[in-house]
């Protein structure tokens, strides 16, 4: 897929999208979208529902079959996707779910290591039904990471979790990112989540990137932080939401 044969040179971007158009029938979802992700960069994509976030992510994942569109997409060879639902096969044990489709001689060892990394060591023989929602999503993270992706695509991965579990998952994802350093594109509608996790936040509006905001926070990122509040206000304004409308952080 990569246009540069030596896609692993230092300055080559992990993802480059040019003039991407996607439409469902008459409705144009993505309209001349340009986007570049650097290697090892954590980018969050914010947008209202229907702004085309998922369409963009599915285009990057190569899952858009019945969609009409043009444009240029360059993605690395190893792409992993984390969906909003954990999407574990209920008839496969946890470890088999993690290893699904992985062809490597030491797959089992790597799978066990990935499960340990997400805090599920010793649960490899469990059925997905026996895990809580948060644990299932951690298995999904392990399944993505065991493939050592250069690009991790996450489509509202914590959207179905309760607030407390979501906070814990933020910490885990940030930690896993620090250790493995893939490029990450996190699609979310939660402004706080975007600021808490990403290094750069993009806002998708009317089918193209309408605004961009670097998150230059170090250390603890919390809503109590002054810089956090500043960035949050700017993002909300870009989304066209007054601070008063934003009661639940969406």
């Amino acid at each position: 897929m990569a246009t540069h044969p030596g896609g692993l040179t230092v300055d080559a971007p992990a993802v480059r999208i040019r003039d991407l158009d996607r439409s469902f029938g008459e409705h144009r979802v993505l309209d001349g979208l340009n986007l570049t992700l650097h290697k090892g960069e954590f980018v969050a994509l914010l947008g209202r529902s229907g702004s085309g976030k998922s369409t963009l992510l599915r285009a990057l994942a190569g899952l858009d079959y019945d969609v009409h569109g043009t444009g240029e997409i360059n993605v690395p060879g190893k792409v992993s996707v984390v969906f909003q639902d954990s999407r574990l096969l209920p008839w496969q044990r946890i470890l088999d779910n993690v290893l699904l489709g992985l062809k490597a001689p030491d797959a089992r060892r790597r799978g066990l290591a990935a499960l340990a990394e997400v805090g599920l060591a010793g649960r490899e023989r469990a059925w997905p039904n026996e895990l809580s929602g948060g644990e299932q999503q951690r298995v999904a993270l392990a399944r993505s990471l065991v493939r050592e992706p250069e690009l991790l695509l996450a489509d509202e991965p914590f959207g179905a979790l309760d607030a407390l579990t979501r906070r814990r998952m933020h910490g885990l994802l940030r930690e896993l990112y620090r250790r493995h350093r893939p490029a990450v594109l996190l699609v979310t509608h939660d402004v706080d989540e975007a600021i808490a996790l990403a290094d750069r936040v993009l806002i998708l509006h009317k089918g193209h990137i309408a605004a961009e905001q670097a998150v230059d926070l170090d250390g603890e990122r919390g809503p109590g932080d002054r810089d956090f509040a500043r960035i949050r206000a700017r993002l909300l304004a870009a989304l066209g939401v007054g601070a008063d409308d934003d009661k639940d952080g969406t």
């Binding site: 994942a61 190569g62 899952l63 792409v79 992993s80 996707v81 969906f83 639902d85 999407r87 096969l89 209920p90 008839w91 496969q92 699904l100 489709g101 992985l102 059925w127 997905p128 039904n129 026996e130 399944r143 493939r147």
Partner: protein, 366 residues
């Protein structure tokens, strides 16, 4: 009002006595003790013992006394449910209080579910049936020409085993059943896979199979006899035709019911076509297949009975048919019991496989 608060917190049954308040009211209105009763009922004051006052005021008929005692119980309930002398603005009753109220009301509400399971209840019906049969035979109500006595049936089983007829016929029947079931399940599964995995396969296969489904297998029997004669081929073909339909229908349904999101997942993890079928499609369709298998087993026995009673010279069905011409109801009953036992055993076997193979499912059935 405190009473209202209690209702809102968690004792919906409070409305029970409140509703019954009315008829009591009216009844009391007709009785001599009008003033007393109505006074206490409407004025929500402290629980004056109204019934005693009432009783002393008038002797009353039996009906009235019943009304009054109902009223007393009602009074007791309402006072227990909501202390009515509570001043407005006083702290509302705690959750705990509401709980205890509910407990107090529990007997008032009829239980809607079927209740607890009776231990060994599954055997009760069959046992009663057997008892009635034995009683009928022992008292002579049941003529042996209509239905032999249970003990005759038992001795007949002994005779049939002793002269080898039972084993021979059972072996023949079991063989037909096994051939028909195995072939039918195999064909049904393959057809379901072809039709479930490819749109072309579905377009070509599904229509004819749905048409076949509408035609009872047994209605094809005359044609099958013309084509295949009356030998084993015809018998097994009939069973196969009966078996493959439920296997096809349920497996196909299971395949189509697999969440398309799993296909998406398989694409993102670069699962090959063969691995996709092995890891996603087949396990996903397994619950449907096993359900189909249960129906198939029943269907196989049904077809077996019919083909063995027509133009046959061996098998349980033949044994029964022969017994009919000689009026041996005991042998017929032996055949029936045999079919029943075999049907139960085979269904139990499939259910066991089901439980083993689907242990990943946590359903209500457990």
């Amino acid at each position: 009002m405190t009473a209202n608060v209690t209702r809102a917190v968690g004792a919906p049954t409070v409305s029970g006595p409140v509703v019954t308040e009315d008829p009591v009211h009216q009844d009391a209105g007709a009785s001599p003790g009008v003033g007393v009763v109505q006074g206490t009922a409407t004025a929500l004051g402290p629980p004056v013992p109204p019934s005693t006052a009432d009783r002393s005021a008038s002797p009353g008929t039996a009906g009235e006394r019943e009304n009054r005692s109902l009223w007393t119980t009602l009074r007791l309930w309402t006072t227990r449910a909501a202390p009515r002398d509570r001043v407005p603005g006083a702290p509302s009753p705690s959750r705990l209080a509401a709980r205890t109220d509910r407990k107090a009301f529990k007997p008032r509400r009829p239980r809607l579910g079927p209740g607890r399971r009776i231990p060994g209840g599954a055997l009760l019906g069959p046992f009663l049936l057997l008892a009635a049969w034995a009683a009928g035979s022992a008292t002579g109500v049941l003529d042996p020409r209509v239905l032999s006595a249970p003990w005759t049936v038992v001795t007949t089983v002994g005779d049939l085993i002793a002269n080898g007829r039972l084993q021979d016929n059972l072996a023949t029947s079991a063989e037909r059943f096994a051939y028909g079931l195995v072939l039918g399940v195999a064909i049904g599964t393959v057809l379901a896979l072809v039709s479930g995995l490819s749109r072309w396969g579905e377009a070509v296969l599904d229509g004819p199979i749905q048409i076949k489904r509408a035609v009872p297998s047994l209605a094809l029997l005359p044609l099958l006899i013309l084509w295949l004669g009356i030998g084993e081929g015809m018998k097994i073909t009939t069973i196969v035709l009966g078996v493959l339909i439920p296997v096809y229908i349920h497996t196909h349904n299971g395949l189509r019911g697999i969440d398309s999101r799993y296909a998406e997942l398989a694409e993102t993890v670069d699962l090959g076509h063969a691995a996709f079928i092995r890891r996603v499609i087949l396990p996903g369709a397994l619950p449907g297949f096993l359900l189909g298998l249960r129906f198939a087993v029943t269907s196989a026995w049904l077809s077996l009975v019919v083909v063995e009673q027509i133009n046959s010279t061996s098998g349980i069905g033949y044994m029964m048919e022969l017994a009919r011409t000689y009026g041996q109801t005991d042998v017929i009953v032996v055949g029936l019991v045999l079919y029943g036992v075999l049907g139960l055993l085979s269904d139990g076997a499939v259910r066991l496989v089901q439980r083993r193979a689907l242990s990943w499912r946590r359903t209500l059935a457990g």
